[in-house]
């Protein structure tokens, strides 16, 4: 991850979901996000973001066997890579340093 480059909000959430699930396909990740955050993200957005994260080297994927239930279409399973973990650490550190000292103000509305 380049210095100063931050993860987008959806990228961040997707990586965190993948960290929780360890190995998952698009719909699993979507369900996890919906269950935890209540955000209903379209499957198109999930795959487009995963594709981008794979291009950046933060996640990897492999093709699982096709099933008749899926109309003979194969599953694509995603995994978090070490670079993705590092990107999450950098993001967390950035957020922590930016919120240091203002947490009280954040909690008062």
């Amino acid at each position: 991850m380049k210095r100063g480059e931050l993860l987008g909000s959806l990228e961040h959430i997707l990586l965190l979901a993948l960290m929780r699930l360890e190995e998952a396909h698009g719909m699993d990740i979507r369900r996890e996000i919906e269950a935890r955050t209540g955000r209903d993200i379209s499957i198109g957005a999930v795959y487009a973001t995963l594709e981008r994260l794979e291009e950046k080297g933060y996640v990897s994927s492999f093709i699982a066997e096709a099933t008749p239930e899926r109309g003979g279409r194969s599953k694509r399973i995603f995994q978090l890579r070490a670079a993705g973990k590092r990107a999450l650490q950098v993001s967390e550190e950035t957020i922590r340093s930016m919120t240091a000292g203002i947490k009280v103000r954040l909690n008062t509305t």
């Binding site: 499957i43 198109g44 487009a48 981008r52 109309g71």
Partner: protein, 191 residues
């Protein structure tokens, strides 16, 4: 009991417009979820959900195209093809106006046919250069037609099917024609 299945047209649209790298997994996931929903709710609700997801997936694709690397090259390629298409359509219009009298039916029918043929050809050419740029071309076709209809460039209002052709079938042809060509090619290879 009535048999039910995921909407074939929606699957086909998704498989035609999404990048090869994840179209199979995306459509497969949607079909999986469709069966779960059809069992837990109703086939009709699942069918509506599937179409909703199809419509929601398209803006995500446009957004991802804008965010991914190389989007500028795709935009330029789409613009170049679009300009060529416009030049071809204008030339055809001039020829039609020159050789056909205003009252003839052919003068009314030929322009939309030429428009659709040009958009199909433009889509196929662009798909060979940059597959993912076709979405940009479809957006160009749709947005310029919206502007043209909004400013009412014609003194006589065009028939409704002109507007339908320009706004729906035009952009759809840009996306669908390359997919049809690809399938035809892969079939001929298989034979």
């Amino acid at each position: 009991m009535r048999s039910y299945s995921p909407p074939i047209l929606a699957c086909w649209i998704l498989e035609s417009i999404f990048p090869v790298s994840f179209r199979e997994a995306l459509v497969g996931d949607l079909i999986d979820e469709y069966w779960l929903r059809a069992r837990s709710t109703s086939p009709r609700a699942a069918w509506i959900w599937f179409w909703g997801e199809t419509c929601r997936a398209i803006p995500s694709l446009i957004w991802s195209l804008l965010r991914c690397r190389g989007w500028f090259t795709r935009l330029v390629a789409a613009l170049a093809v679009y300009i060529t298409m416009v030049i071809l359509m204008f030339s055809a219009d001039i020829v039609i106006a020159r050789y056909l009298s205003p009252g003839q039916k052919a003068q009314l029918i030929l322009p939309p046919i030429i428009f659709l043929l040009t958009t199909a050809a433009g889509g196929c050419v662009l798909a060979r250069i940059r597959r993912q740029a076709t979405m940009f071309l479809a957006l160009f076709v749709m947005s310029t037609n919206i502007v043209l209809f909004a400013v009412r460039i014609c003194s006589i209002p065009p028939p409704w099917w002109y507007q339908l052709t320009a706004l729906i079938f035009g952009p759809a042809t840009v996306l669908i024609a390359p997919a049809i060509l690809e399938r035809a090619n892969s079939r001929s290879f298989a034979i």
